[in-house]
Symmetry: C2
Subunit: 285 residues, 2 copies
């Protein structure tokens, strides 16, 4: 981490309102005011070349840009990034690298391999690189989760203040070490949320091997792949799983939970990383 | 429509299983079998050039490819398409045009303006074209909705058999004329679902001016823009709205409902297209 600190990129801390109030009508014909989440375009420029425009809530645009570059494998090391300057007046994130990006055109040429939304973007051959991801062994205590730690994680999520609670229509994503929350982010898209966490991890030199992701979104192939890419072996979702999300996680030996709220959950795969402490049956005979 | 029939593209009808059963464990430590939705890559080739890979449920791949080309404005008229051949063995949709696509490289060059997932893809300058979309006047009876027609629409959705009911984790989208359902589709991504309906409308020469969209997904900017692009002035969502979805719809004079289930809803904007028949107050004084 000391070496990271020396090379850490300079980031602005651009802020913008996350919600706005609008006047609506309901089924009773009554006019009332509700709060909805912001959604704004953020165009990422890398060394003055336009890369992509993301629609975002705008809570952490610098970390989003950073994590996007990381998860798209456009930048190999955070040390390569000198600064990220976000200016909402022009809806842009200007990324300055220290030495330029080698093969920039080639890396962004293969246009769109995609996602569970299902039209996200992943440049390059992400899938083929995933198998190279090294996740810790299932015997590694940090890369396991007990049922009580899972409940602790879910309790922390319940207590978390959020734009979702006030305005709905956003996805939340959090990074945990066992039941302890390290960071939490929301965005209009679950891909943006996980990318922002990837940016946070990179910035702070945080490794994924003893961490767990929580997401409100579905566990589609891309969510699972991004988690694997960050080296995080455990994912917990409030929603469900798709076939490719399931198969990818199973193949990589990840621990995957869905439909997780309160003391309910489904464990899809990775049983060998899970220390079950089964609830007593609801109707004991 | 006769002219459409003459030029209608030839489509395969490739099918693939939409769900699979997997073995999971729950909070009681019990092993049980559940059903999850399929998710598979579909790479679209246009005249043998690779365009994009979408992750899809696979329910209607030919219509998805067709609607994708339409909504990305890569093809101007359905008459330009000779055939779409989907082969799941190679996970590909081969689109053959009659005369090639002019400026193919230029049209796909501007890489990714995006979406509410929030990383969908829209080639080109979609936003700037949206204002040119002509929606019927609010006085046009077909482009209005009454509260009872809205309830009828929601009742039709409740009765619809679906992969969602059996497996969860997919988004549904339907096209209505007043309370009458014309077509319904599900996909792992809500963008794919609406694109598939766009393909269906194109194939059958169906105009949007007297139609309404229903979607289970959130009303983000891109969902609203795609609807406007198809000329559909009314959107109903089970979920909520984001700021850009709201502002886009309001600017275009669209009628937008969210949180719509049973006899509950919020009307966000387009009040002048809505014939309210207010429910009696819950607690009359």
């Amino acid at each position: 981490m000391p070496t990271h600190a020396a090379q850490r990129p300079r980031l602005t801390q651009a802020s913008a309102p996350l919600t706005r109030a609008i006047e609506v009508r309901d089924e009773f014909g009554a006019a009332r005011s509700i709060t909805i989440p912001a959604e704004r375009p953020l165009t990422i420029f890398v060394d003055k070349r336009e890369l992509v425009t993301l629609m975002t809530l705008g809570a952490a645009p610098e970390l989003l840009a950073l994590g996007y570059l990381r998860n798209q494998r456009l930048v190999d090391s955070i040390d390569d990034i000198e600064s990220i300057t976000v200016d909402w007046d022009v809806q842009a994130a200007a990324v300055k690298t220290r030495r330029g990006i080698a093969d920039f055109e080639a890396r962004t040429a293969k246009r769109v391999v995609t996602t569970g939304c299902g039209q996200g973007t992943v440049f390059g051959n992400l899938m083929s690189e995933i198998d190279a991801s090294a996740l810790p062994a299932a015997t590694d205590p940090g890369a396991r989760l007990s049922q009580s730690a899972l409940y602790g994680l879910l309790a922390a999520m319940r207590q978390q203040e959020s734009t979702y609670k006030s305005a709905g229509s956003v996805h939340g994503c959090a990074l945990f070490r066992q039941a302890g929350m390290l960071t939490f982010v929301e965005d209009v898209g679950r891909h943006n949320a996980i990318d922002t966490i990837a940016g946070w991890m990179w910035l702070h030199g945080v490794e994924g091997g003893d961490k767990a992701f929580y997401t409100t979104g579905r566990l589609t192939s891309e969510m699972v792949m991004k988690s694997a890419q960050m080296g995080v072996p455990i994912i917990v979702s409030r929603s469900g799983v798709t076939q490719m999300g399931y198969e990818t996680a199973k193949r990589l030996g990840m621990l995957l939970f869905g439909r997780a709220t309160n003391r309910h959950f489904i464990c899809y795969c990775g049983f060998d990383r899970f220390d079950a402490e089964p609830e007593p049956p609801r109707n004991p005979v």
